[in-house]
């Protein structure tokens, strides 16, 4: 009988628990819908957690979004959507006339002076800025933090920003000469060469850390320091709680004057790895923001919950089909650079682009959230974009004519052949990207129609990127997310050893020249003619087939107000947002 009773006792207990659980279900469910904690909390769901809440080493997108709210900045930046140029603002000076609603109140710098030889920039800092522990923010904090950014033991992913400082040309930045702090409110950066003002502002405005707290931490212990989990900042928000891989809660920082305490009392970043569940959360109002919603889910989402809207940001991400321009087997064996037997000729690459129906990929998948891509300069960067380039329209007969002209003729099996070699290859892509899967199938069909045998293969992401880096693939499909500063030399530079992201092996000395010329201009917009020519050449040579720009789409709850969403990010002015109905804190 013992087993019998014990079993029933257990079952009874379990049933009771289940009952209690379902009974109590109603309470919290009600509070999720209206009133209570939810009214003062903005809920953002994220795919992955923050790594370090430390601007020197934080590398995930979530980390930068959150660090941006916790730490103060030397300058405020603003993206001008009419020109695509970045603007920098100090309290009493702006680089360009402001265009948006963004105010410079959060900047630590009052003003700056660029030396006439463009080899130094001097900032005057405000004296009324304090870290959360009450210590003043001084120029020494910047100098201290820049040393950390440049320390190889710390391996900051932002060390590229120090590339123009004195000593960087010789391999090691000479911090004593490169950064001077004559007093607590004066900060001088010195460069080894003349630097355009916009670049100087961009590269000298890295976020500072409180030196008085961090100076006791040894560089080798920097990454494992507990300060990374309990940041002391000065921005509009501070960290309230952080349950790793689960949720991170920020609370409005009531003592902040940089620029002010955040309007919404709490921001809750929840980690929800599954896309379907993120969608469900948005639909049931359990979340206010879900990023990167797929176009195929828009209609059902908006129908199920009219309290949601879809916001799209600028064009920063594009997909492309990469064709190896060089014969990689020979290159790896002997270092000799010869054209690839299939994709070596620009005419053939152009024909491949003509043969692919890019519009139908956009119509079928991205719809109004995609636009044809001609080169890697985004239409959002209007000041440099070449609008006069006309896209290659889908034209298979023109493509077939080019192949004939190049000597590729149909064999007995219908596949194009030249000197006994079939036009047959494997198109690789990485696993887990529905958009690229969709596109690759259309590409395969399009190419088959003109007698090209294209087989598809999906590789695990790590393996795929390693193969790409080692230039092992003949043809692949991938994407790039571009920065707001144009710097394409990494991707197209002719020195294949230096340009590690030139996976195609494309080489054109004029492209190298144009990139250098553009960089040398001290006024950013003076580089426009170079970028126009650059786009013409890239469009003509088609080192890759550019497919489409993707307008990233974010789901927003309509209870969020005063938000401004643009190419520099979904959370661009999040400290100014309000929730309605809401319990915003009194100013």
């Amino acid at each position: 009988m013992k087993t019998d009773r014990k079993g029933f006792k257990l079952l009874f207990l379990f049933m009771m628990t289940m009952l209690v659980m379902s009974a109590c279900g109603r309470g919290p469910a009600g509070s999720a819908g209206s009133g209570g904690a939810k009214d003062s909390t903005l809920v953002i769901t994220m795919l992955g957690d923050a790594d370090y809440l430390n601007p020197v080493i934080g590398s995930s997108v979530t980390s930068s979004n959150i660090s941006g709210l916790i730490y103060p900045g030397l300058l405020q930046s603003e993206f001008d959507s009419t020109t695509g140029l970045l603007n920098f603002m100090a309290l009493k000076k702006t680089f360009r006339p402001p265009t948006g609603s963004r105010k410079p109140d959060g900047a630590l710098a009052k003003t700056w002076t660029m030396a006439s030889d463009h080899k130094s920039i001097t900032y005057i800092l405000r004296s009324d800025a304090f870290w959360d522990d009450g210590k003043p923010i001084v120029s020494g904090d910047f100098k201290f933090t820049y040393r950390l950014y440049g320390n190889p033991l710390i391996a900051s992913p932002r060390q590229q920003y120090l590339a123009e400082l004195v000593g960087a040309d010789k391999g090691v930045v000479d911090f004593d000469r490169a950064i001077e702090t004559p007093n607590d409110t004066t900060l001088v950066f010195r460069f080894y060469k003349p630097v355009p003002e916009h670049l100087a502002l961009f590269h000298t405005s890295l976020t500072p850390l409180p030196a008085h707290l961090w100076k006791v931490v040894k560089p080798e212990d920097f990454r494992s320091s507990p300060h990374n989990q309990k940041p002391v900042g000065a921005g509009p928000y501070k960290l309230k709680t952080w349950a790793q891989q689960q949720e991170l809660v920020l609370a409005s920082n009531r003592q902040s004057n940089l620029p002010k305490p955040g309007n919404i009392p709490f921001i809750n970043w929840r980690i929800v790895p599954d896309y379907t569940v993120r969608l469900a959360q948005l639909q049931t109002n359990a979340a206010d923001i879900v990023e990167n919603i797929k176009p195929e889910d828009f209609s059902s989402l908006l129908k199920a919950n009219p309290g949601i809207e879809i916001r799209s940001v600028g064009l920063r991400v594009y997909d492309y089909v990469g064709w190896s321009n060089i014969d990689q087997t020979i290159y790896h064996k002997s270092g000799k650079i010869l054209p690839h037997p299939l994709f070596g000729s620009p005419d053939i690459r152009r024909a491949l682009t003509l043969a692919i129906d890019r519009e139908s990929i956009i119509d079928g998948y991205l719809k109004q959230y995609g636009t044809l891509c001609n080169t890697d300069i985004s239409p959002s960067l209007k000041w440099a974009y070449n609008a006069s380039i006309s896209s290659y329209a889908f034209d298979q007969s023109a493509a077939a004519a080019i192949f004939r002209k190049e000597g590729w003729l149909p064999g007995p099996d219908g596949i194009l052949q030249k000197n006994g070699r079939k036009f047959s290859f494997v198109l690789y892509t990485n696993a887990g990207n529905a958009r690229r899967n969709y596109a690759s199938v259309i590409i395969q069909q399009n190419l088959k129609a003109i007698g090209i045998d294209c087989r598809l293969d999906v590789q695990e992401s790590n393996v795929f990127f390693e193969n790409l880096q080692n230039r092992k693939l003949d043809a692949w499909m991938a994407g790039w997310s571009i920065g707001l500063e144009i710097d394409p030399l990494d991707v197209w530079g002719s020195d294949l050893k230096k340009s590690t992201f030139n996976f195609t092996g494309y080489r054109n000395p004029r492209i190298d020249e144009l990139c250098e010329l553009a960089k040398e201009r001290l006024v950013q917009t003076d580089a426009r003619p170079y970028w126009l020519e650059y786009q013409e050449i890239i469009h003509r040579d088609q080192p890759v087939t550019f497919l489409y720009w993707i307008r990233e789409t974010q789901g927003f709850s309509k209870r969020i107000h005063d938000e401004e969403v643009n190419i520099s990010g979904t959370f661009y002015n999040i400290d100014d947002w309000t929730l309605r109905p809401s319990a915003t804190i009194a100013p």
């Binding site: 079993g7 900051s156 060390q159």
Partner: protein, 321 residues
Amino acid sequence: MLIYILKRLLLSIPLIFGVLTLTFFIIRLAPGDPAAFFIQPGISPNVAEQIRAQYGLNDSLPVQYFKWLSNVLQGDFGRSFSRAQQPVFDVIAGALPITMTIAALTLVANFTFGIIIGIISAVRQNSFIDRFLTVTALFFYSMPEFWFALMMIIVFALKLQWFPASGLNEIGAESFGPLGFMLDRMWHLVLPVTVLSINGAAGIARYVRGSMLEVIRQDYIRTARAKGLPENIVIFHHALRNALLPVITLMGSSLPFIFSGALFIEVIFAFPGMGRVTVEAIFARDYPLIIANTFISGTLIVLGNLLADVLYAVADPRIRL
């Protein structure tokens, strides 16, 4: 028995070390680079190199192995590459309580429902209720967990809105008080535990039914009935105890599951449990974390098997260790 247990434990040490050594080399042979994330335009190419130096990946493989071995022998499994350099056991300690709560609830539900359904099916063999339970159990058993979980979310979280779609607690649950907080936590666990236990209970029910049917046909059951004992004593006291022997093996082999987590459920319901720790570590090529996970699950499999063997002896006096 004590000597037997000690012998088994001693034997398991070289076994686990062998597993760890194999894992150490296999993950390093797999393509992919823990510093790959830092290889992208706009990031200095030095960063990946510096990161590799920090992780000690620039040494030759044998050097890496001996360094690792000497650390492990001192109990130091290292720091995670992908999770902000936390000591690997801190990462595991963070994920384990969540996984264990879910797994413990699931196991209780699994075995309770599984045994009850199994007994009913066996006692009422070939009746309508047996066929109904068998078909239902098979139906749920053959359903993929992730799909079932998504269906449960669609029905109970999206349409009916009875249960939350994911997470461990409501926003602001701290203000509900300790009891409210606990009830809120349980309310969040209903869907995942249901998904996991329906699937598992269905399997256990099949085992129990099979072994119960075998036992019921034995002579001693006929004797018990002939003695005039009431049917429920015959079933529960005489038959069940013997029929549960194979279930004990199942219990032993369920032990690693308690600690290893249920990946799909953790991903879908957004629980930061062990399943996610393991898989994310593999994708990020987080070598120390992968090895620490292998260590934990390897040890538990060995202990689980040992526990099952010991439980056999406890349940069945004929088995001597």
